[in-house]
Symmetry: C4
Subunit: 212 residues, 4 copies
């Protein structure tokens, strides 16, 4: 707000970036519900409404699973953005790329909810969903590598050790998503189980930052 | 914003949490309208547009009812968040769970609007809607119990009596939703009437906080 | 943020209320576009894509018309909220009611875009749209009457004359919407023309506030 | 917030305007995904789910292309708004017009994704998309010309040279969009290629502001 001529550059403060990102997170997470459609009168000629509601548990599973994943990314986005003291143009574009991968989630989540129970489509549905879960992890890693490289945008008080620890963690996360993707190509149920395990791991509290 | 090294931890300020929650509330409440579809030309061969608009009153009823319920939760979310001075990881996750139940509402609201007038589906439509109204009440209770336990996250000036009074109120709210759910299984119209009464009760101003 | 025990009550600051309202405004206004559907391959067997795009001008008209109306309400919401120094529970509920009428607009706007060109449905489409434009004007009047009554929530520096001038203006606005609604029941084209005129009037800058 | 009587006028601060604009940007950009539909069971009788997912690359292309374009407009919106020190009523309305062109993008993006691969509709789909990309550029130019005219709303420290340089740049951008639109009418693939080139150009960091 109180910008002096010297401090002026073409970058945004991280708070504006966070507000916009929060908006995309909030919308992507809330749009998940529109993949669960109200049944048509035609559909309810074959089963009762109660049967329809109960029988659509895969939709609820996909909704909850995707919601938690986006929710975790949101929590982590805030965690990570506390370490950034500046932004620059490349960083903004990387964040747009990250948001693009988050906003994409309702589509594979919709496919997962519709086809996870159908044996002939299960593998494609699960693999595609896990692939789409890997995309934000990849963008995430890029953001961190770019921003923490020689403390380009990060808080200079952060210890080198901690910065590297996070980089290794985010790299590992990519590896694990790729592994669970590969597993899903062979055994979809095992793939989604590993992916669920990954999600549960992310529910653990993030690491305490270390300062010099 | 002006974070000192000591105060730094992995938690967000409640204001960021509130901003994200407001986003989800605003989107969920606005998405309710997309359950009311513009009629197709095919549909309007059977009735005039004016008849269609008037005859779809159950859709408007479901829209208004769900809108008011989400609106009340939003008002109460702000009321309650004034008592929180900190957040932690578990609290963030509980809030994500709460938002998941709010973002879910457009689906049962759509079902209610479509099937409340059809005798054979009415019971399922009403029971499912009341069930989905109970979910946020349940998440709400968990949030309060977790945050107020030994003043973990709440304002330490709040009196013990007031904290317990709120816990009892939120517990009671759960009981009343469950009762109206059970009633709806026997008599759907009575169930929705009780549920409407509950909503009207929530329109009353919330309790004045008491301090030590 | 820096709340003292004395100032604490169950009301929100107007800034939180504005942020939530902005969210609903932003979503309602952006949702208007989803009423303009991408044509199916089936549809394009009867006309070329270019013909389809051009021939759907009523959709664009409805989009632009509804967008401007919501946009104006948003501009005016900010204008009016500058005069409020406090909120209370009833005020919050009235604002929720107002937002409910704003979030409703995509439905009548969709009907307007679909049926304004069809002679047999034109009257219903136009009348319903004008009716739905009147609803926020009505909620608006209620908000002002409630908040300005004996300076309940308004800035005490506002002159009595100015407060009454606004009340008369908002009342007049209701009368004009009702008149254009009644006209549309007789002559839909005249009704929409009057309603368009009203919108153009609202594009004029709002009145300068007067202080004692 | 701390408004004195003298400073009061009917204008908003730019921060409120930015918050609302961010909301519309975030929603428009996230709504792009709903143009990519989960396939019906009927559709999957003709091809496997995996084939469907891969074969729909034009949808992903349109999603990524439109996402980046809106993302760039958002980055530039913040860049430009740093130069504005005030707003006025006309400025607010011009910004509503700009947002109307941004919120419109999901429709032509949906058409692009659906029909870019079909020879008979390709030209219309591409031309319409480029046309809709030109609209925000046009609104953008209007905003700048209006706000910078005799430093009506801009920071008075900005050098005259810089102000004119931006005006020329924004004018040029309009010319380039119109040229790529005209090219697309003759050769759609060349048109989209030029338009892609334009987008890549916009990925370059914006100009450093110059002060007197």
């Amino acid at each position: 707000m109180s910008e002096t001529k010297d401090s002026f550059n073409t970058e945004m403060t991280t708070s504006r970036l966070e507000a916009f990102s929060d908006g995309v997170f909030a919308i992507a997470i809330t749009l998940l519900i529109i993949e669960i459609k109200v049944p048509s009168h035609e559909t309810l000629k074959q089963e009762s409404l109660m049967e329809y509601i109960i029988h659509h548990w895969p939709k609820y599973f996909a909704y909850v699973f995707a919601f938690i994943n986006i929710g975790i990314y949101w929590v982590n986005h805030h965690y990570l953005f506390k370490f950034f003291k500046r932004t620059d143009h490349v960083f903004n574009l990387l964040n747009v790329f990250f948001l693009m991968t988050i906003a994409f989630v309702p589509y594979p989540a919709g496919i997962l909810g519709e086809y996870i129970v159908e044996p002939e489509h299960r593998k494609s549905a699960i693999s595609f969903f896990i692939f789409s879960m890997w995309l934000p992890a990849f963008a995430w890693l890029l953001i961190w590598l770019y921003a923490s490289h020689e403390k380009r945008l990060t808080d200079e008080r952060l210890s080198e050790t901690f910065t590297k620890k996070l980089a290794r963690l985010f790299f590992l996360s990519n590896v694990l998503y790729i592994i669970s993707f590969l597993i899903s190509l062979v055994n979809p149920v095992a793939g989604i189980a590993v992916s669920l395990g990954l999600t549960l791991l992310y529910l653990l509290p993030p690491m305490k930052p270390e300062y010099q």
